[in-house]
Symmetry: C2
Subunit: 333 residues, 2 copies
């Protein structure tokens, strides 16, 4: 697989520089470290700051969700590697408007370690923080261990909710509550058809024979929880959506937001073929689809594949989802 890059070791800093050059009206770097980025108007006095982060290679995750009505700051590491606690602290200080800072990121060991360290460092600086973990991947752990699940594309809903709550002036405690509530009602599952190629090594992250797919794939180039024969789009949509409906306990009269997410190389046409059947599957069960997102929201470089996320809606969650938001990759409202 060929890539449009310069020296592989410059890849992260160079794409971040591109983002900063392209969107100076929306984002800025608060210091010398390009990998730390905050919304251009941060800090917002009296409002809760929201810091996210994780490895590179997932655009629009994470850098793309910094802006009004979304996250206030972000720190990223190398491809699929955690940012450092110092980088997280830099972002924290730059977005602190005096009302505390929420750490909102996906549940992965390295990220948890460094964000937790940053919590301690922020406390020394007198900045109260709280943490909510994205943990939407139903394939990563069974329901009885759902608090150990890893976070994938469904964190989009948590960003929207947290950002809207902070924007309207909720306290840190309130922002945590609404964000936890959204995470609790979000579920995601994905499939992979082709691996990621690591820019540093040029090697695929796993081998997958012709005619097979990975089910329960993550967004770090890792294989899925099991492997099976490649199914048709309709079979894939039915199986994935069914797993999500079961996990969330949805039924007639439920309302949902749907996210059909491409992992990188899969054409938008195929995502709409998946959406079509997902829509029918839910409609047949009397589940109302109130909001829809179809496109690339959380990728794994050029991995081929897709995930489906559902957020069960109530009036409060829907209001947060519909609040205006604007970032380099997210425009709505």
């Amino acid at each position: 697989m060929k890539k449009i890059i310069n020296a592989p070791e410059d890849f992260v800093d160079e794409f971040v520089e591109g983002i900063l050059l392209a969107h100076p009206d929306l984002v800025r770097t608060p210091g010398d470290d390009l990998r730390v980025m905050v919304r251009a108007d941060a800090p917002l006095a009296g409002k809760v700051g929201i810091v996210t982060g994780g490895g590179s290679g997932h655009l629009p995750l994470f850098k793309g969700y910094v802006g009004a009505g979304l996250c206030s700051g972000v720190a990223i590491g190398n491809v699929f590697s955690s940012p450092s606690s110092d980088q997280i602290l830099q972002a924290t200080k730059a977005v602190d408007g005096g009302a505390g800072v929420l750490y909102l990121y996906g549940n992965y060991g390295g990220d948890v370690f460094n964000f937790d360290l940053a919590c301690d460092l922020a406390e020394l600086e007198g900045i109260p923080t709280a943490t909510v973990l994205g943990r939407d991947d139903v394939a990563s752990q069974p329901r009885e261990r759902k608090h150990d699940r890893r976070g994938v594309a469904g964190i989009l809903f948590a960003y929207k909710a947290a950002g809207a709550a902070a924007e309207r002036g909720d306290s840190l405690e309130q922002v945590v509550a609404v964000t936890e509530d959204v995470v609790e009602h979000t579920a995601t599952i994905g499939i992979g058809l082709a691996p990621t190629i690591m820019p540093t090594t040029g090697k695929p992250s796993f081998e997958l024979p012709d005619g097979e797919m990975e089910i329960g794939i993550g967004i770090h180039g890792e294989p899925g929880s099991r492997r099976g024969p490649l199914e048709t789009a309709d079979e894939i949509a039915d199986h994935l959506t069914s797993a999500l409906v079961d996990d969330l306990g949805l039924g007639e009269g439920s309302r949902v937001a749907v996210l059909v997410n491409g992992l990188g190389a899969t054409p938008l046409e195929e995502l709409y073929v998946l959406y079509r059947r997902t829509h029918r599957f839910l409609a047949d069960r009397g589940i109302e689809i109130v909001k829809k997102y179809v496109g690339e929201y959380a990728t794994s470089l050029e991995m081929a594949g897709a995930s489906i996320s559902l957020l069960e809606l109530d009036d409060a969650r829907l209001e947060l989802l519909e609040a205006p938001a604007r970032s380099p990759f997210f425009r709505e409202g």
Copy 2:
């Protein structure tokens, strides 16, 4: 290459159905033929309609640009194949608000043939039409034959201009004039790193050895105008941007809009690496970048590669580009 599809022959109708199910607030099909789509509020009385179209496989082109401030209707064919004149006529009738209809599409033989036929059919129905062709690909013909160039991603600028002009109430003649003006000042050039895989055959559209790239690639899976060694991102950006600057005769004090477009499989990170150098290249020459678009705007299924487009701006063109627009894939203003 594996795909998320059902029967290959149902691919087009199924992704279109997905779009219609996902965006009923924005678009509708005016009759029985799913491949004909118009904005939900068409026709707009007294306003010029804009119909585009072409082959499938380019999302968000063409279906994605139907909406307020953009095109009013679209007709698409099979993958990389023209729609029929009858489908174009259906779209024409459905968007006709009494002020005439502009046909705005890329310069390809099959499309020209069928749109021209539709012109004649529309005339019989008493609907005046006019045609502007996207012809921005500088690699497809030398400058002295620029009216024969094919249309690629730069048609985005023409959509924005035509849509904004129609929305503000310009006459058909005026919409044609501003759209022609934008097309005249738009130039695009692309490179390909990996071919498209046709859904019907599962076969790659061309073979490209390791360590090589196609320069001057189109968006129909066709090879480029020449083949060369794979360059670094900075070399690619320099060579492509230089060709565009020369072609448009840009220099110190020029103002431009930049579009860095992904052809399908190329990660957004790589597009920002390209944007970074393009930005520097232009800034070094005193060329001011006023608007930037980085992402997938016109694809060729899962082709790996990218194109760069420049539109030379003046106040009139900038005003049209900045007008609000909203479609399934385009949100701005």
